[in-house]
Amino acid sequence: MSAPAALQARDLGWATRGLRATSIVERVSLEVRPGEMLGLIGPNGSGKSTVLRLLSGILVPTQGEVLLDGQALRALPRRALARQLAFVSQMADTQDAIDVWDAVELGRTPWLSALQPLSAEDGRIVRAALAAVGLEHKQRSAWSTLSGGERQRVHIARALAQQPGVLLLDEPTNHLDIHQQLSLMQLVRALPITKVVALHDLNQALACDRLAVMCAGRLVAQGIPREILTPALLHDVFRVQAAELVDPQDGALVLRFKPLDSSFP
């Protein structure tokens, strides 16, 4: 037996309620091992974000259950959960005139009671979180002055200030320029905790320890990137023709995609 899973989904399902109830995610079972970075990939509308929200406890599954360190998520109080697991949603924005330090300090919320002031220790944790994302020099900058990449770093720093064992990120590189995409992925990869990252870019996904592939609400493959990103899977799930190229500089694998049908000459 390998080490117990840090986060585990058992037969997860989620459906919208009401008259037009539609099943969004069905029978998803997956395991996230301690310390690894698991990439969650799939085409638009395949249910990546929903699975991530189910894993985070923000959505409650209509079927199955999520286990965090072997404990049912449902049985954990919200605050206790937020101390063990942090979730960074896609490009959360605010119009409030908040500065970087205050935004990161929000990460201490689950550790503090209603009227308890922040201690020196909380300040140290916030500073460490800012340092981990390389934003110490921007701590008094206003949110509205930050670039997209910096905002995403602030969100990650806030999540780190929660001191979680597991970090969930929903498409963290969306809308970022290529330089910011690469440096953000490097930063995420280097974080010494368990990570689950929903990703769009398959070449970025190659950098994950393992991948879980979603298609039409179901999990269709799970494993090491090089083993599961086969031409057949890319054809069936992503509907592209893929060629594997090797970068002559460092021998890294690169995927190149072509459309299946060239209806637009």
């Binding site: 919200r78 119009q95 209603a114």
Partner: protein
């Protein structure tokens, strides 16, 4: 800790000065020493010789009125803070959202149409009216899509629909059940009117304002966690549904109590939180007390102006707050134009 005590003392001192000025200024201008002597006579049992007419003006008329104005201003400002934070919308406010209109309808249903046959109070009626109106406006905005109450256009449109509906219902009830005399009085009350408040009103509004502020301060950290939306608040361990339910009910209750006593005073909940954010920042630990203080001072000042602007006449206080509030509302609309309005 020392800083906190100093700040609280400074805030209470500012409030006391505003109340004293509110009591001293009016059609009959009274010197601060007369005001002081009356207060000393009433509160400390001193025996200063004061003209009984001055004594009546200060104690029964102006002081009760200033205290109601202060607690209404504080309460409405806190309602505005709650609504703006939870709905993530800079334009959220009890008056614009139709909550005040709903409270008016509820109050009139009890006081004029005689709903409940005397068993329920006007304030209770106003509370149910306020909750109904908020539920209706929220449903309408939600059904209209595009982010529901978080979208400025939806909130303003749904609020207009709600206000118009409830104001029409109020007029209908008054015309159908009230006498002409009643109707005139109530139309004046609907614009916001502090005339005729009594000491019993003062007690109720003060208790509600203080209790509302205490509940909000207790949730200050949770309100902060809503900075990046309710999903991010949930991820930070906030019981989102419970906090939203408790605080929205508090906002409805404060609005209902204030409306049932002084009528629908608009724009206080909009202007004051924005002014307070400008001065003390967005963190609720400071924003809530600052909004309450500024709201209290603002409404005392608005009341003084409404009593003195036109000699011999008292303007509805809602006219003064709208004169200040409407341009601020326009300013927020224009400022939001560039961003994600």
């Amino acid at each position: 800790m020392l800083r906190l005590i100093l700040l609280i003392s400074a805030a209470l001192a500012a409030l006391a000065v505003a109340i004293l000025l509110g009591v001293a200024i009016g059609e009959t201008r009274l010197s601060p020493s007369v005001v002081w002597q009356v207060l000393a006579n009433q509160l400390a049992g001193a025996q200063y010789p004061v003209d009984p007419i001055d004594q009546g003006i200060v104690w029964n008329y102006r002081l009760a009125r200033a205290l109601v104005a202060a607690s209404c201003g504080a309460g409405l400002a806190i309602s505005g803070v709650i609504l703006q934070s939870l709905l993530r919308n800079a334009l959220a406010e009890p008056y614009l959202l139709g909550i005040s209109a709903g409270a008016s309808t509820g109050a009139v249903l009890v006081s004029v149409a005689g709903l409940g046959a005397g068993a329920i109070s006007m304030t209770t009626g106003a509370f149910f009216g306020a909750v109904c109106a908020f539920a209706l406006v929220a449903l309408l905005a939600h059904a209209a899509g595009s982010g529901g109450l978080r979208n400025s256009a939806q909130i303003v449109l749904a609020g207009i629909a709600g206000s118009q509906l409830f104001n029409a219902l109020t007029s209908l009830i008054i015309t159908k059940s009230g006498s002409a005399e009643q109707a005139r009085g109530i139309m004046f009350w609907m614009l916001g009117n502090l005339s005729g408040v009594r000491w019993s009103d003062t007690l109720l509004t003060t208790c509600i304002a203080v209790a509302g502020m205490a509940v909000c301060l207790w949730h200050a950290r949770a309100l902060d966690a809503f900075t990046f939306g309710s999903e991010s608040a949930a991820a930070l361990g906030v019981a989102v549904r419970r906090v939203q339910l408790v605080l929205l009910l508090v906002a409805a209750l404060i609005t209902a109590v204030m409306v049932s006593i002084v009528g629908a005073i608009g724009f206080v909940g909009l202007v004051i939180p924005h002014a307070a954010r400008f001065m003390v920042g967005v963190r609720h630990r400071r924003l809530i007390p600052a909004s309450a203080l500024i709201g209290a001072v603002f409404l005392i000042a608005a009341d003084v102006i409404s009593r003195t602007l036109i000699p011999g006449q008292v303007l509805p206080i809602g006219v003064i707050t709208a004169l200040v509030g409407a341009p601020v509302f326009a300013g927020i609309l224009l400022k939001g134009r560039g961003g994600r309005a």
